[in-house]
């Protein structure tokens, strides 16, 4: 398409935007003097800004398409190439480790706190990635399991005085149990229907927590939830935060470790097969229902553990922390990060949770920028920030010969 058409298109878009934003950008009612001000300068600025934005948008869109034409197959994301390359892997991971170890000592407590939230979302994202990214089950009620974990810690601590370290593994089991209980009736559904029902289940858990006053203290929530201790030792506020940070780092590493192993195992492959083609999957001897249920239950396990960490970190929880928006944020983490890609989900969580915090400077437009960013990612990187790459198996004749010797 010639450049003339682009200019014409951008002009039309600019004009349309000028009219669209006219009531809010131009007209200003001055209630005190009872006059209406017309700010015509804004009218012009909107036009100019939209025109150039549209031109840039078009340029990138075209470039994206041309790139797609030239190389179809080998577009492995940079991070994967770094990790696959033996020379770069160690320094790269070393640098990453150094950054995360130094982080709470270099930056003030506020930043550590934000990072903890982001890392909890990494856990949640990796858990939901099993359900949505790998098994292809659209779960909009994921926050329910997060709530189960958080309330499990809060209530067990309140009534029985159980500590963080006792509740953490218990909540993981509890999460699995809830995953199976909720999954069992709903997993016969697929696609949109499953999404609607899980959405309902998520809300039911929240509403129960809100209204069952005797059990959960209702909307007032539960306060004074203790931070984790180190073999009985209590920390001061600052040190407790740093301690919490390293607990979350350890949990995230554990999550990555297990999820990675699951992904390249018999069960992980079955999840992906189920996502790609249900009928073929069954014809290959895979039990559809069992496979779905394991994905659902394992996803719930990590959500519950994330919930425990969340409760311990904020020391106060109420049902408002577990609304549908939380589910949607976690889903955004998975989709924008890259469905089925663990590295993508980690990047997605860090970007999506840290960015709004650092955008507080432009507080008013924070959510606007955030939304625009999501649209941009989806247009230019529909597979997510870092898309998934399947494991590569190597074969050489020697190895095979040795293998055959040992097995015959």
């Amino acid at each position: 398409m010639p450049i003339k058409n682009h200019i014409k298109q951008s002009l039309i878009i600019a004009f349309w935007f000028m009219i669209l934003t006219f009531p809010i950008m131009v007209i200003k009612v001055n209630a005190i003097q009872q006059t209406i001000d017309f700010r015509w300068a804004n009218f012009l600025w909107v036009g100019i800004f939209t025109f150039f934005a549209s031109m840039i948008w078009n340029y990138f869109l075209r470039r994206n398409e041309e790139q797609k034409k030239t190389d179809i197959a080998d577009d492995i994301p940079l991070v994967h190439r770094l990790l696959q390359n033996d020379r770069f892997r160690r320094p790269f991971l070393g640098l990453l480790a150094a950054f995360f170890i130094a982080y709470p000592f270099v930056f003030p407590m506020y930043h550590t706190s934000i990072m903890i939230s982001a890392l909890v979302y990494v856990m949640l994202g990796l858990g939901l990635n099993i359900v949505v990214g790998l098994a292809g089950l659209l779960d909009l009620g994921y926050v329910a399991f997060y709530a189960v974990g958080a309330y499990a810690y809060a209530l067990l601590n309140l009534h029985f005085g159980l500590s963080f370290w006792v509740v953490l593994p218990m909540s993981a089991l509890l999460g699995t149990l809830f995953g199976v209980l909720l999954g069992y009736p709903v997993l016969r559904l697929r696609g949109d229907y499953l999404a609607i029902v899980t959405l309902g289940f998520g809300e039911i858990i929240r509403i129960v927590l809100e209204n069952w006053d005797d059990f959960s203290n209702g909307p007032r929530g539960i306060s004074d939830i203790p931070a984790p201790t180190f073999f009985g030792h209590h920390f001061g506020q600052h040190d407790a935060m740093i301690y919490m940070y390293f607990i979350v780092i350890a949990l995230v590493l554990m999550t990555i470790f297990f999820v990675n192993r699951l992904e390249n195992s018999k069960i992980g492959r079955a999840w992906i097969a189920l996502r790609d083609d249900e009928i073929a999957c069954q014809a290959m001897g895979i039990d559809k229902f069992k496979t779905k249920l394991t994905a659902f239950a394992l996803g719930a396990t990590w959500a519950a553990m994330g919930g425990v960490v969340f409760a311990a970190k904020t020391s106060f929880i109420n049902p408002m922390s577990f609304t549908i928006w939380e589910s949607i944020t976690i889903l955004c983490v998975v989709v924008i990060g890259g469905m089925g890609s663990a590295i993508g989900v980690i990047a997605g969580a860090l970007v999506l949770i840290l960015l709004p915090e650092y955008l507080r400077a432009v507080a008013e437009y924070r959510m606007l920028v955030f939304g625009a960013l999501q649209v941009i990612v989806m247009v230019f990187k529909p597979d997510g920030l870092i898309k998934s790459v399947r494991k590569v198996y190597t074969f050489n004749v020697q190895e095979k010969a040795i293998h055959e010797q040992t097995h015959t």
Partner: protein, 264 residues
Amino acid sequence: MNKPILNVKNLTMNFGGLKALDDVTIRLEKGQIAALIGPNGAGKTTFFNCITGIYEPTTGEVLITPPGKNTQSLRRLKPNYVTERGIARTFQNIRLFHGMTVLENVLIGRHCRLSSGIIKAMLQPPSQKNEEKQAVFDSYEILEKIGLAKYVNDMAVNLPYGAQRRLEIARALATDPFLLLLDEPAAGMNPQETKELDDLILWLRDNEDVSILLIEHDMKLVMSLSDWIHVVDYGKKIAEGTAADIKANPEVIKAYLGEESEDA
């Protein structure tokens, strides 16, 4: 006399008022390559779906006798259990797993022959590692046999068409079947690819100890391959016999070409 490995008795499948299959009886002997032919919409794929458990037949019975085992019924078995009992199939419209590599597609076929569960997958004890290694080597070997070894780490969706069809066969073979159901394996293939497929199917029967039942429209392929041919039309079986019998059968010619009009 040996029992037939597949014995389908009086199979009828109704979809509401439509009789997709009407009293079809088919027997398949061990080591046989049999073909199921018929005009479009005759009910061939429905027949496959009834055997493999995707549909539950209205009436009739499907009995199998795996080599060295007793006769058993496949009634009300889910597709995954049918596969476990040794019947594997391919699909008319290719149904590969797009998000996976060629090797992983075959590994999925090994799924029901592996035993490691979730806990083992997370902790990876030596038994799980060995099993996984073995599965990868088995799958690679199958790919070598089928002639797809060079694509091993490519994404399944990027394969040429003919190779995708062969990969479906490789994947089915990975489930260790005694009976392979091929639904139009040559559809959309060029003559060269069809020739290779012909060789592959014969090779499979002779070396892999599987019997084969195939649906196919390519008559040259059917006639050259099949030991026995079953013809269905409008859900009814109208003929069976060797290639020569079927070629000469007036019923079959009528089904394919239509009847000569009286006053022509």
